[in-house]
Symmetry: C2
C-alpha cells in the first residue's frame, strides 16, 4: 500500500491546517469519499474539532505541530492562509506533500506579492504601489487621486487590515503602525464577483459559474449564483482569467479569484487558495461542491462536474449580531432552528457550532430555485431570522427593490 493511505480503509488521509467552518464542511465531503479529514485545531471546541475524529491540537505557527499533523498524511492543505511560508518549505523538504505549495500560496498570503505577479503577467488589477513613506503615498495619489486604499500586505481578511484614506492626515500614522503597505486606487466598481476554479497537480482545471458576492461592512453577506445580468463575454473572460492565474501560479486545490466589476471589465482584488465563502452555494447548488473538489484536487483525483443543480442558488451568511458574546438576544438558537425549518422547509441550513461573537460567521443558508428575486428573498430572510430572531418579511421585500 502506498504510504499516506489509511491502512484501515486503503484511502488517502488529507490533513487540514485550521479547525474552522471550512475544515468542518470539508470533513463532510471527505466522509462521502471514504475518508476522514485530519484537522489541526487550536482548541477542541473549534468548529471542525467538534465533528471530526482525527483532531490534532496545536498552533499553525509551530513547525513541530505542523510536522505532527503531516506525519502519515497523504497531503497537507489549509482552511486559512496564515501558515508561515518557511514552515511549508520545511514540510516539503521533509518529504511531505503540501497543496497548494508555498510558492503558490504566498500569492494568497501577501497582497504585494500578488500585485507584482499579476503585473508581470499583465492581468487586470487596480492601480497600486508599494508604500513605505508619506511621500510614496502622495506620489501615488498624484496618479490616482484621493481617496486611496491602504492595505496591510499580510494577515487581513473580511475587511480587516484595509483602510480607506481620504487625505494625507492619517497616512503617517498608518505607516508607522503597519510598516510597508499596499496602496490601491479606489476602483469605481459596480459590484464584486468571484470566479472559482479547482486545479489538480495533473493540471486539470474545473470552473464554476462566476458569482456575485454582496458585501456588508467588508464581510460577505450574500452570494448570487450565477452572477445576475453578467454578459456571457464577461463571464467567460472572468473564468479564463481565473484559469490563467491558477495555471501560472501552479495552484493546487481551490482558487477563488475575487474581482471588482467596473464599466470596463473586471479587476483582480485578491485570491484565496482554499474553499471560500463565495463557494458555499456549491454544496447544494452544484453537482460537485467546492469542498469535495478541493479534496479531489489536492489528492490529484480527477475533478467532478461543476454543473449547477438549479438555475439559481443564493447563499446568505448568518453573522453574529451586535450583542455581546454571551448575550444572544431573542429566542435561543435551538428555537430559531425550529422556526427556520417551519418557515422555510426547503432552505438548507449549515450551522458551524461556534460561539457567538459580533460579526462572526456563525453559519449560512442556501436556497435554490428558478427566480432570483424569490430565491434571494428566501435566503436572506432565513439568514436574518437566524441572526437576530426577528421574522421580518418586509426585509425580504426590501431586498428585492
Amino acid at each position: 500500500m502506498p504510504s499516506g493511505l489509511d491502512p484501515r480503509t486503503g484511502l488517502p488521509v488529507v490533513a487540514m491546517v485550521g479547525g474552522g467552518q471550512l475544515a468542518r464542511m470539508t470533513h463532510q465531503a471527505a466522509v462521502a469519499l471514504g475518508q476522514s479529514l485530519r484537522v489541526l485545531a487550536a482548541s477542541s471546541d473549534e468548529s471542525a474539532a467538534l465533528v471530526t475524529a482525527d483532531v490534532r491540537l496545536g498552533d499553525h505557527r509551530n513547525l513541530a505541530d505542523l510536522q505532527q499533523l503531516a506525519d502519515g498524511a497523504t497531503v497537507v492543505t489549509f482552511d486559512h492562509e496564515h501558515v508561515p511560508t518557511e514552515h511549508l518549505h520545511a514540510l516539503e523538504a521533509a518529504g511531505h506533500r503540501v497543496a497548494p505549495g508555498p510558492d503558490a500560496l504566498v500569492h494568497a498570503q501577501d497582497k504585494l506579492v500578488l500585485r507584482r505577479a499579476l503585473q508581470e503577467a499583465g492581468e487586470p488589477q487596480p492601480a497600486w504601489a508599494e508604500v513605505r513613506t508619506v511621500h510614496d503615498v502622495t506620489a501615488f495619489v498624484d496618479d490616482v487621486g484621493w481617496p486611496v486604499i491602504l492595505k496591510t500586505p499580510r494577515g487581513g481578511y473580511d475587511g480587516k487590515g484595509v483602510f480607506v484614506v481620504d487625505g494625507p492626515d492619517d497616512v503617517a500614522a498608518f505607516l508607522e503602525r503597519h510598516g510597508t503597505l499596499l496602496a490601491e486606487e479606489r476602483v469605481p466598481m459596480m459590484r464584486e464577483l468571484s470566479a472559482q476554479v479547482a486545479r489538480s497537480p495533473f493540471g486539470q482545471i474545473a470552473v464554476w459559474p462566476v458569482v456575485e458576492t454582496v458585501q456588508r461592512d467588508g464581510v460577505c453577506a450574500e452570494v448570487l449564483a450565477p452572477a445576475p445580468d453578467l454578459s456571457d463575454e464577461l463571464a467567460t473572460a472572468a473564468q479564463e482569467l481565473a484559469v490563467r492565474i491558477a495555471d501560472r501560479l501552479g495552484v493546487v486545490g481551490m482558487l477563488a479569484v475575487e474581482l471588482f466589476q467596473t464599466a470596463d471589465g473586471v479587476l483582480v482584488n485578491e485570491l484565496a487558495m482554499r474553499p471560500h465563502n463565495s463557494g458555499h452555494w456549491t454544496i447544494e447548488g452544484a453537482r460537485t461542491s467546492q469542498f469535495e473538489q478541493h479534496l479531489r484536487a489536492v489528492l490529484d483525483y480527477p475533478l467532478g462536474s461543476t454543473a449547477m443543480t438549479a438555475p439559481v442558488a443564493v447563499m446568505a451568511n448568518v453573522l453574529g449580531g451586535a450583542a455581546a458574546a454571551d448575550d444572544w438576544a431573542g429566542p435561543p438558537l435551538d428555537e430559531r432552528v425550529h422556526h427556520l425549518m417551519a418557515h422555510w422547509p426547503d432552505v438548507k441550513l449549515h450551522w458551524y457550532g461556534k460561539g457567538l461573537r459580533p460579526g462572526r460567521k456563525l453559519g449560512h443558508v442556501t436556497a435554490l430555485g428558478n427566480d432570483l428575486e424569490e430565491v434571494r428573498a428566501r435566503a436572506v430572510a432565513a439568514a436574518r431570522y437566524l441572526a437576530d430572531g426577528i421574522v421580518d418579511d418586509a426585509f425580504a421585500f426590501e431586498q428585492e427593490h
Copy 2:
C-alpha cells in the same frame, strides 16, 4: 438551557445506537445542523466511528452501555433494529427519550408482531401464519400451496433468516433449528417498492416519492426514484399506506415500508424504522435527505421538503465481491476511485470505509438526470466498476434492454 442541549453549541445531541454506514451518513447531516452525532459503536474501526468525534464503544445488548450513551443526549435513536425491547423500556423509565419508541420499533424487530398488527389494521399483506410444528406448516400450505417462505421473526436482514421451502422435507429441520417461524405465501410479485416517510412526535409526516428497489440474492442492488411506470393511483395508495402505518404505530423518525407490487396492488413485506438503503438516493436526489429528516423527526423539528432535485435519481450499491476479505482482486481501491471520478465526473460516491467482505455493502453511488435508462446505466456501471475493478460498458447497455 434545557437539558440535553450541548452546552458548547446550544443545540441538541442525537445519540445513535450502531456505528454502521447509516450512522456515518447521519453524522454528515448532523454537522450541517450544527450538531455532532454521538455513536455507540462495537469497535473504533466501524464505519461511523472512523468519522465522528463522539464515539462510545460498547454493546447494543448491554443496558449499561446504552445508558452511558443516553446520558446527556437529547434523544436516542438507531442505525439498526437489534436493541432488546426491554432495554429501551428501561431507558425510557430512566427519563431518556427514545425514538422510535420501543412499542413502535418492535414492529420492525419482530415480523410476527408486524403481521398481527397489519392484520388488525386491515392493511394489505401476504397470507401468513405463525408456525411451530410441521402440521402448522402443512395446514398453511393447504391454503396457499408450495413453495412457502419461512422467516425467523427476529434478526434477519438482507435475505438472511429467510428460507424458500418447496416441500415438507426440510420443514422439521428448520423448525428445530429456529423455533417459532413466520410462514408466508410466495407472492406472485412484479417487483419490490419502498415507500418512505418521516414522522415527528408532533405528528407531522413527510413523504418521498415511492421508489423501486431492485434486489439481487436478497440484497438491495439498485433503487430507482421515482419508481418507473407506477400509476399515480398506486403511488398515492402506497404513500397513504405508509402514512397510516406511521401514524398507527406511532413511529418517530424515518419509516421505510418495503412493498411487493402484484397485479392487484401492493402488499407490505416489512418495515425499517431508521434511514434505509432505499432512501440513500435522497442525499442528492431530494431537497431533504432521509438522514437530515431522521434527525429533524427524532428532535421534533419541523420536517424538510421532500421535493426531488431532478426528474430521476438512481442509487446503486457497491457490494463486496466473492473474493476473500483480504483479497481485493484487481486494482486497489484508491485507484478505482481515481478511475470512477475520471469516467463518471457527475456520479456521486459514498464510500463507507469498511473492510472488505463478500456481499458486504461497501458503499453506494448516485446518479441524477432526466432519462431513467441513461441514469441507471451510469449508476450501475460505476458501482460495478468499484466492486470488481472491471470497466464493462457492455454491462451498462445490457441493463437497459
